[in-house]
């Protein structure tokens, strides 16, 4: 009887007659209150009615009665995930897999939800999706999702293979055509990318993301008119992120009036990338030599909501950038930005440049960036070097670009950027705009390794080119010769090292990155791993002294208390606004260097360190610390 009612109710449920199904489940529970199936299914109807909490109570009750109810666990995990409780959802998927290790749905869910934005958990997510794909080889969506993760993991060929497999299984899967197009574009197979993205557009001409991706492709081909048309179409179709691309392309085309009009249209709209638009507005006004107007405008905009919120940080950054451009007092420019807590890369650059310029003026030495001495030679530049990424990110981009520029016989022109001011570099300032070159990482690397024997691409503006894939020993001495701090900074960067040498013979410098790593899902280095490693190492060292570098010293210091860690505050007066450079310098001078997972900052320091006898870093898979060789 109960079984008959449940079967009929389930049929109603599947047919979308939710209220009728719920009534029948309740009827079952009146006579059989411990019926786990009815509790689970009633919970689902509650969820469908938007009553999440009641749904969870009912499903939990069902699982207490029948812990092996796999469907109930999967549904509970979905509810938990939708409610933002990823950890609890993970626990449910793991329980499902403990019951049924070949449950494709659980592996798929675990894989889809495990990769953080910054790459934490990505290897595990890939493993889970591979298993899901083996268990459900007919599922195109699994191959597609796996392809996306593999692309993020720099496994481009495998990523392309996955998207192709997804399309063999379902040739109408739009996202796989896009995934394939984007992966081929990253590989610089622009012809293949165009075919894939056109296929996507012909399947769904009203999908804005396709036009955005086609815009990126046209932009890569330096077809600015075509890129503009695509980005405009994406923006018209409601994709807010396309708006700043429209403005950027108009600026590339020299259509400043049209760019300004587009900014006026877009800036008030919800969803607009206001931060980027304000940077573009600054560039537009500076290029038009409209500095007084810029000062007045950004002063006003700092107090006005744009697209629903205030963007004071970007506006204050623009004002400090104006100060620097006009040669005004850098102390005021630095002071304006020093109290701000932000991840904005442009703010980081301007704040650091202002602080360095303040020091230079206090020291009374002159620094003039050179003009391009050989304007007839081919050029390369990167207009993003000062506003996409922070210190180490930009330095690592510089290394890739300079190696490529030298190989191709180009002059590398750089905008004002922190590495250019901190290190003893004398690259010329940009002598004029160059056509854009986005998505260049793979091509630059392939040219350096000799894998790509094609004609050299020169006279381009490399947009966020990113980094070398490998750091071969052959580059080591050349890179180290470029990246030496200017001797004038010695009064600020040497004292912490001198203090450490005065109190110990072996400097062990460990960097623990926190800050936005937690927020954006980057791999987090556990302090306990370093503590365990130090307990073994410490007794073997000659008068060791531990230096701790972190963007969150209060959070990590206590864990190391048994080693009496020294921080910058203990070691020397801080270099206002540039404390991270003092930490960086200690890391480049230590005898033993411990880096943070996925941190370009400490990886770079380890690569520049000429005295370290040991470099170590976290092994995220094994959960411990292991040695690594910075140049292989």
């Amino acid at each position: 009887m109960t079984a008959d009612i449940l079967a009929a109710a389930l049929a109603d449920h599947r047919a979308g007659r939710i209220d009728r199904a719920a009534a029948a489940y309740r009827q079952v529970l009146e006579t059989d209150p411990g019926n786990a199936d009815a509790l689970h299914l009633l919970g689902l109807t509650e969820r469908q009615a938007g009553r999440r909490d009641t749904a969870m109570v009912l499903i939990h009750r069902a699982l207490a009665l029948a812990p092996h109810l796999i469907e109930a666990r999967l549904n509970l995990a979905n509810i938990l995930l939708a409610g933002g409780d990823g950890a609890a959802a993970h626990a449910q998927w793991r329980m499902v897999l403990a019951l049924d290790p070949a449950n494709a749905a659980a592996w798929y869910a675990l894989g889809s939800a495990s990769a953080g934005h910054g790459g934490a958990g990505r290897a595990g997510a890939i493993r889970a999706l591979r298993r899901a794909g083996r268990l459900a080889p007919h599922r195109a969506d699994i191959q597609h999702d796996l392809g996306l993760l593999l692309r993020q993991h720099d496994r481009i060929e495998e990523a392309i293979a996955c998207q192709r497999r997804a399309l063999e299984l379902d040739p109408t899967l739009l996202s796989a055509w896009m995934g394939l197009g984007n992966a081929l574009l990253e590989k610089d197979d622009t012809g293949g990318a165009l075919i894939a993205l056109k296929r996507a557009a012909s399947l769904s001409p009203g999908t804005p993301e396709i036009w955005f991706n086609l815009g990126n492709l046209r932009y890569r081909l330096v077809d600015l008119e075509g890129a503009l048309a695509c980005y405009r179409r994406a923006a018209r179709l409601g994709l807010a992120v396309a708006r700043s691309r429209v403005v950027a392309v108009l600026l590339d085309q020299g259509q400043d009036a049209a760019a300004e009009a587009a900014l006026a249209t877009y800036l008030p709209l919800d969803g607009t990338d206001v931060s980027t638009c304000l940077e573009l507005l600054y560039a537009l006004l500076l290029r038009g030599d409209r500095r007084a107007e810029a000062r007045s405008l950004f002063t006003r905009l700092a107090t006005v909501p744009l697209a629903g919120r205030h963007y004071a940080i970007e506006c204050l950054t623009a004002l400090s950038a104006l100060d620097l451009a006009e040669g005004a007092d850098p102390a005021a420019a630095a002071a304006r930005l020093e109290p701000l807590r932000t991840d904005n890369c442009w703010t980081f650059t301007i704040r650091s440049l202002a602080a360095l310029e303040r020091t230079r003026r206090q020291q009374g030495w002159h620094w003039q960036r050179p003009a391009n001495p050989t304007p007839d030679r081919p050029r390369l530049t990167s207009s993003t070097l000062g506003n996409r990424g922070r210190f180490a990110h930009n330095v690592l981009e510089y290394v890739l670009m300079r190696l490529y520029a030298e190989k191709q016989g180009c002059v590398l022109e750089t905008p004002d950027w922190v590495g250019g001011a901190y290190f003893d570099l004398d690259d010329p300032a940009p002598s004029g705009p160059l056509p854009p070159w986005p998505f260049a990482r793979r091509v630059l690397n392939a040219a350096l390794t000799g894998e790509n024997q094609g004609p050299a691409v020169v006279d381009r503006d490399l947009l966020s080119p990113l980094f070398l894939y490998d750091y071969p020993l052959a580059y080591r001495d050349r890179v180290r010769s470029w990246l030496r701090p200017r001797p004038q900074w010695s009064p600020w960067i040497d004292p912490p090292v001198d203090t450490l040498r005065a109190v110990g013979r072996t400097i062990v410098a460990i960097h623990i990155r926190r800050g936005d790593f937690l927020q954006y899902g980057y791999p987090v280095t556990e302090t306990s791993w370093y503590v365990d490693w130090l307990r073994t190492l410490w007794p073997t060292l000659d008068r060791p002294v531990l230096y701790l570098a972190s963007d969150d010293i209060p959070a990590v210091r206590a864990a190391f208390r048994e080693f009496r860690p020294v921080t910058l505050d203990d070691a020397a007066p801080s270099w206002p606004g540039l404390e991270y450079l003092q930490d960086f310098h200690v890391l480049t001078q230590a005898d033993i260097v411990g880096i943070s997972a996925a941190s370009g900052f400490s990886q770079l320091a380890a690569r520049l360190n000429q005295r370290a006898r040991l470099c170590v870093g976290p092994d995220m898979e094994a959960g411990g610390i292991r040695p690594f060789i910075p140049w292989s």
Partner: protein, 92 residues
């Protein structure tokens, strides 16, 4: 070691079987996999496997898990052959 860790080691044995077959580049009989891989694994319950799966298409591990050959997927897929207790989440 929790249940999920045991699931993980079962899958790793499955991965090893798949890699063996891929490297061989030919169809590999269950008996060959048994001799070259499964029987050598400390995870495998040899006695039970030989007793309950004479064709060697079901490999019982000492844990509650095992591998069976799926003719449909042409792959060695984990399964569970014992009870699990989910009342204590620290076991997972």
């Amino acid at each position: 070691m929790g249940y999920y860790d045991k699931v993980e080691e079962t899958w790793q044995l499955s991965d090893a079987a798949r890699d063996y077959v891929q490297k061989a580049g030919r169809a590999v009989e269950a008996t060959e996999l048994w001799e070259k891989l499964f029987a050598l694994s400390p995870l495998v319950d040899t006695e039970r496997t030989l007793r309950e799966s004479p064709k060697l298409d079901r490999i019982f591990l000492k844990s509650v898990y095992g591998l069976h050959y799926s003719a449909e997927l042409k792959d060695w897929i984990p399964f569970r052959h014992g009870a699990v207790d989910l009342t204590d989440e620290s076991n997972i």
